[in-house]
């Protein structure tokens, strides 16, 4: 394994400290702050033009913030970009490849560009080719690669020097379901190996599955941040419960209307839906109460809001 330029401490691997970025009058990034710790996958969610790519480019030292600073493993992207770059792998949204090269030559060039020589370079090449599954098409010209394979190659390029932090901008964009699942598995594997990953995507279900934390951003502002469950809990006012009784629907409705925390009851025969304030405990308590009240229940389902629901609730869809 190649040496990772990382210091041993419990401080965050990525810190955005009140980052602002203005393009004329447009505030592409407007006071964004968050932290990501080692081995975490942080999902960056937001509509087009929300400031995700600009934030990622600032973290990758490709843009300078107008105000604030971003820190990677304790090094400022403004003052020590060279040290940040040693720790960083960046996979941009749109990428182009060099013509007249095959996969292994492409990766070999970047291995050399990252200063890997001799056995280290050979080991890095083998590891990357095998991890990304490109070893089966190593001598294939880049121009003939499918979109999925190009994404793999781009990921391979970003991770060739075993960076401690990977920044992936829309990595699953335009991929078929199989390629997307494989990419997700690769990202999860990298996180298990200790790589800190910042990933942006439009496919929210996918982010919900692989991210430890997410940040929802719109018009350059970070609207919510935390784990997916935390955000769901915070944003969700009440649980929507659907219930089907064997019989005595009317009595059950009356019984429910007397319960604390239950509201908005709608009944259709023996099936009813209502809102329940609280979390899992209140849900279990209610079910126990219904059974103790001698009602026969055929179906009981509590519907939690998905990340998509939360995203739609938080964002307005406005662009700058």
């Amino acid at each position: 394994m190649v040496d990772r330029f990382v210091h041993e401490s419990n401080s965050p691997m990525i810190e955005m400290l009140r980052v602002h970025r203005f393009f004329g009058k447009t505030r592409a990034v407007n006071d964004i702050s968050f932290e990501v710790y080692r081995g975490q996958v942080f999902g960056f969610i937001g509509p087009n033009g929300a400031g995700k790519t600009t934030s990622m480019r600032i973290l990758s030292t490709l843009e300078l913030p107008s105000y604030g600073d971003a820190v990677v493993d304790g090094f400022s992207v403004i003052n020590d970009p060279d040290l940040v770059r040693r720790r960083l792998g960046f996979m941009p949204d749109g990428f182009s490849m060099y013509p007249n090269m095959n996969c292994v030559e492409y990766l070999d060039f970047f291995a050399r560009a990252y200063g890997l020589i001799g056995k280290d370079r050979i080991a890095a090449l083998r590891r990357t080719l095998s991890f990304t599954g490109l070893d089966k098409i190593a001598s294939k010209p880049i121009t003939g690669l499918s979109k999925g394979m190009r994404q793999r190659l781009c990921l391979g390029r970003a991770m060739i020097h075993s960076p401690a932090v990977l920044i992936l901008d829309e990595p699953a964009n335009g991929l078929d379901p199989r390629a997307r699942i494989e990419l997700r598995q690769m990202i999860q594997q990298l996180a298990v190996d200790g790589t800190t990953i910042l990933v942006s995507s439009h496919i929210l279900t996918e982010l919900a599955e692989m991210c430890d934390q997410v940040g929802i951003v719109e018009r350059g502002r970070l609207l919510a941040t935390g784990s997916v469950a935390d955000i769901q809990r915070t944003m969700q006012g009440a649980l929507r419960v659907q219930l089907t009784a064997m019989d005595r629907g009317e009595q059950l409705q009356e019984w429910l209307s007397q319960r604390q925390g239950v509201s908005h009851i709608q009944r259709s025969g023996n099936t009813m839906s209502f809102e329940l304030q609280g979390g899992n405990l209140e849900q279990a308590d209610l079910l126990k109460g219904i059974v103790n009240a001698d009602f026969s229940i055929m179906e009981f389902a509590a519907h939690r809001e998905t990340l998509e629901d939360v995203f739609m609730k938080i964002t307005t869809g406005a662009v700058q």
Binding site: F5, F75, M101
Partner: protein, 558 residues
């Protein structure tokens, strides 16, 4: 069944295409033979850009087509020329005509194709976004630019090698000396590399598609001009048939100038594509100063060695004008620099008394730049002129006080124009971040044009539109005033209009100069800040790791 054969049987069976891919990896990372392994070990030391570009270039259609065409044209010319020479080929000197043909053929790939390919290579990196991924690696802008230039050199070498047997043939056909052939090839190669360096630098400066198109057209025009200039020079050299010893000195000086300015240009381009928070000014000022000093020494040396008594003053005036142009162009661009020194740049500011005393002028910013340019020009020009005036015997020199005054006038113009441009930039470009250097250069050009137009109009108006006559109010017109006060026009200085023009110039430049010096105070008092301990530790760790790797690689190569 033995254990070896069972191990063989348990290996995964690979399909033919998978075997091919596996072989490609093996060949690339380990090589097939000991010779391959040695080459791979050598390639670890070479600039990665050179390795990549060579792989790309050798597979590209452009390279193959050029090589093919070159070979065909060279063969065709050789056959045609030899057929035309028969029967005199056995006794007459026919090498000259043949070499002229080869030189003309070589000019096209050397001065047109290679620089254009270098330009496209750099421009497409920036255009396609591959430069960003490249800049995130440990490669510095210097590595990238030198790598691109090395590829141009390699292509040139390949094209030259195609012609090597033909050039040997020209020598065998008599009429040419070895030094003519050597000078032809050296001149062609150096011009090709210089134009390639310009092309790469220009591509690095282009920030968008429009600029790229504009620069590529300008570059192509320059290339065509260079091709004609080099072609006619080569024609002269080859036709003359022998090389006087002075020509080697001229070639040496020419090469030195070309190398130094290419170095300066590549450094500037490196700074333009480098990290924005980096100190991008000092790395350019150091070569600028070195080139200025070297040019002062060289021009002085040649004026003294080769100039006779009557021409001495004119030769030194030309040298001083050259120095003025060098510093004025650099200065008017420098005036667009921002006054804020980034934290990263402040870590490398001089901290000792002597360092602050002598090196503060190398700090980034228009303020230190103003003093740097002014002092460098005045230092080098006055030293050159005064040394020649006092040290040369009267039999050798005709230098008068006029030349010293001329240098003073040039210094005053530098102070006046640079100072005015700086003040304009400070007022109008306060919030502008990008394109400041181009803006300050443009402002200088506009000021110069305005001064010429205004003074000519004034002069015409005051003479009832009958004639143009220099008067004291024409002092902002740099070209006219310098023409009037040129050292060879000795009696002009005592005329009232010239005298008052000089007085006005002195007063205005002193006022502007003092304002600028006062404004520079805040840039000069900026103090160095210490580099954080962890950053220092990290850098030393990287250095020691690199040294260790180099050592291991060296041992492996042995």
């Amino acid at each position: 069944m033995t254990s070896a054969s069972s191990a063989l049987d348990s290996r995964p069976i690979l399909a033919p295409d998978q075997l091919e891919h596996a072989a490609a990896i093996e060949q690339l990372v380990e090589g097939e033979t000991a010779w391959d392994r040695r080459l791979i070990s050598l390639s670890n030391w070479i600039n990665p850009i050179l390795v990549k570009e060579t792989r790309q270039a050798l597979k590209s259609k452009q390279f193959s087509m050029t090589l093919l065409l070159l070979t065909i044209v060279v063969l065709a010319w050789s056959m045609m020329a030899i057929i035309g020479m028969i029967p005199s080929i056995y006794y007459a000197s026919n090498g000259t005509g043949l070499l002229i043909g080869y030189s003309i053929i070589l000019i096209f790939p050397s001065l047109i194709i290679i620089p254009q390919a270098a330009f496209r290579s750099m421009a497409s990196e920036l255009d396609d976004g591959t430069f960003e991924t490249l800049s995130l690696s440990t490669l510095t802008p210097r590595h990238i630019l030198i790598g691109k230039l090395s590829v141009a050199a390699l292509q040139l070498l390949i094209y030259f090698s195609v012609l090597a047997p033909c050039i040997a043939l020209t020598y065998l056909l008599r009429g040419l000396t070895l030094d003519v052939i050597a000078m032809t090839l050296i001149l062609l190669a150096s011009c090709s590399l210089a134009v390639s360096a310009i092309a790469i630098s220009v591509a690095a400066f282009a920030r968008n598609r429009v600029q790229q198109v504009f620069f590529s057209i300008v570059l192509l025009g320059g290339q065509v001009f260079a091709a004609f200039a080099v072609g006619s020079t080569l024609l002269g050299i080859v036709s003359y048939g022998s090389i006087p010893s002075e020509s080697w000195i001229v070639l040496g000086v020419f090469l030195l100038v070309v190398i130094l300015y290419s170095w300066l240009l590549l450094r500037s381009a490196g700074c333009a594509i480098g990290v924005a928070s980096e100190n991008r000014s000092t790395p350019i000022r150091v070569p600028l100063l070195l080139i200025g000093l070297l040019m002062a020494m060289l021009t002085g040396f040649f004026s003294i060695c080769y100039g006779d008594r009557t021409a001495m003053q004119d030769l030194l005036a030309v040298s001083v004008n050259f120095l003025f142009a060098h510093w004025a162009i650099a200065g008017c661009i420098m005036m667009g620099e921002q006054g804020v020194i980034p934290v990263r740049a402040r870590r490398s500011l001089p901290s000792s008394l002597w360092g602050r005393l002598f090196l503060t002028w190398l700090n980034p910013g228009a303020g230190p730049g103003y003093l740097f340019v002014l002092l460098s020009f005045m230092g080098s020009a006055f030293t050159l002129v005064l040394a020649a005036w006092f040290l040369l015997p009267a039999t050798k020199s005709n230098i008068t006080i006029q030349l010293v005054l001329y240098v003073a006038v040039l210094s005053a113009y530098l102070a006046l124009y640079m100072g005015t441009v700086r003040l304009i930039c400070m007022v109008f470009l306060r919030r502008v971040m990008a394109g400041r250097l181009v803006a300050s250069f443009t402002i200088t050009c506009v000021l110069l044009i305005l001064s010429v137009v205004a003074t000519l109009s004034l002069s015409l108006a005051s003479n009832r539109y009958q004639r143009l006559a220099f008067d004291w109010y024409c002092f902002p017109n740099l070209f006219w005033t310098l023409g009037e006060l040129y050292p060879s026009n000795q009696n002009r200085w005592i005329l009232p209009e010239c005298f008052f023009a000089v007085v006005c110039l002195a007063i205005s430049s002193a006022v502007i100069g003092l304002i600028n010096v006062a404004l520079t105070a805040k840039d000069v008092v900026v103090l160095r800040i210490e580099t954080p301990e962890r950053v220092v530790r990290e850098r030393s760790k990287i250095r020691s790791k690199k040294e260790e790797e180099d050592e291991l690689e060296g041992l492996a190569a042995e």
